[in-house]
């Protein structure tokens, strides 16, 4: 009997210390945090998200994101905060700005040209 309760205590005691790694005020905030860290690149990694990284700077940025969420910042504001400090390449989804418009527009222009040439040839 004593032996069994000892085993039971061993099993249960680990659960007493179980705690989540990060503290959040609501489930909504927690969801936002976990989706954000998948969309932000770890600045010290070749290409890995914050979620995949334990680098010291990634841990710092994760803590900062939690702080910003608690301050009531929107996802957009948090991403702007990070890209302002660590450069545009920390965001996996490149925004439409002066250094990326060429990238976004070229395929459309190219396809339009292809289509035009194709139609032109058919007529003649």
């Amino acid at each position: 009997m004593i032996k069994n309760s000892f085993y039971l205590l061993l099993i249960v005691s680990s659960m007493i210390h179980a705690n989540s790694l990060y503290e959040f005020e609501s489930l909504e905030d927690e969801k936002r945090f976990y989706s954000l860290i998948k969309e932000v690149r770890c600045p010290k990694c070749t290409s890995g998200s914050l979620a995949s990284s334990n680098a010291p700077v990634s841990e710092d940025i994760k803590q900062k994101i939690i702080e910003l969420i608690k301050e009531g910042k929107t996802d957009r504001e948090i991403k702007d905060f990070l890209s302002f400090r660590f450069g545009n390449d920390v965001l996996y989804n490149p925004g439409f700005n002066e250094s990326t418009y060429f990238l976004w527009i070229t395929p459309v222009v190219f396809l339009t040209l292809c289509l035009l040439v194709f139609l032109f040839r058919r007529k003649s």
């Binding site: 600045p43 010290k44 010291p56 700077v57 710092d60 940025i61 900062k64 302002f84 400090r85 660590f86 450069g87 040439v117 032109f120 040839r121 003649s124």
Partner: protein, 176 residues
């Protein structure tokens, strides 16, 4: 019409390859350099020797801010060059990053101190605000604004290619 299409078919690969040729052979491209102008974040931090408190107001004028730590091997490599810059009367402020105080002081005693003063950013809070991702990193500060941010070791080549053009353009450090 056919000539037109043939011309395009020939031109596209030529443009494509010359684009990559030029891109790969661009010697002036430094991935660690960031030339965006950013306000220096406000801070209030103890210095490494614990007897003085420094704030952003102590950084009036022009300074280099060098992020270093005793655990950082590249900082050791960079140290000699910083010493040379300091010998040329260029004011360098050390930002000791996530380092044990004792280790940092031992390091300075052993290898020399090229810094005007050293602030001790134990948790890396200020460094995070400045966009530091590791050590070493070097910032050029001019009138409260960061005008160059270089991630990685600063040596003679980086100094001449990345920092000097901006320093000459903004007319900084010519007090000697």
């Amino acid at each position: 019409m056919n000539i037109f299409i043939r011309l395009i078919l020939i031109l596209i690969p030529i443009i494509f390859f010359s684009f990559f040729y030029l891109y790969i052979n661009d010697d002036d491209y430094y991935p660690g350099a960031d030339f965006r102008v950013i306000d220096m974040p406000k801070f209030e931090i103890n210095d490494l020797y614990k007897d003085q408190r420094f704030t952003h107001l102590d950084l009036e004028g022009s300074y280099l801010i060098n992020v270093w730590a005793s655990w950082c091997i590249t900082c050791r490599v960079e140290h000699g060059f910083l010493q040379k810059l300091s010998d040329q009367n260029i004011p360098i402020v050390g930002l000791n990053y996530k380092d044990d105080k004792e280790d940092a002081l031992n390091w300075i005693n052993k290898f020399g101190d090229p810094y005007k003063f050293i602030i001790h950013d134990l948790k890396g809070r200020l460094a995070l605000d400045m966009g530091v991702t590791g050590a070493p990193e070097t910032f050029l500060l001019h009138n409260g604004k960061i005008i160059v941010h270089y991630r990685g070791e600063v040596n003679k080549m980086i100094w001449n290619d990345v920092f000097i053009p901006i320093i000459n353009k903004e007319d900084i450090f010519n007090n000697d």
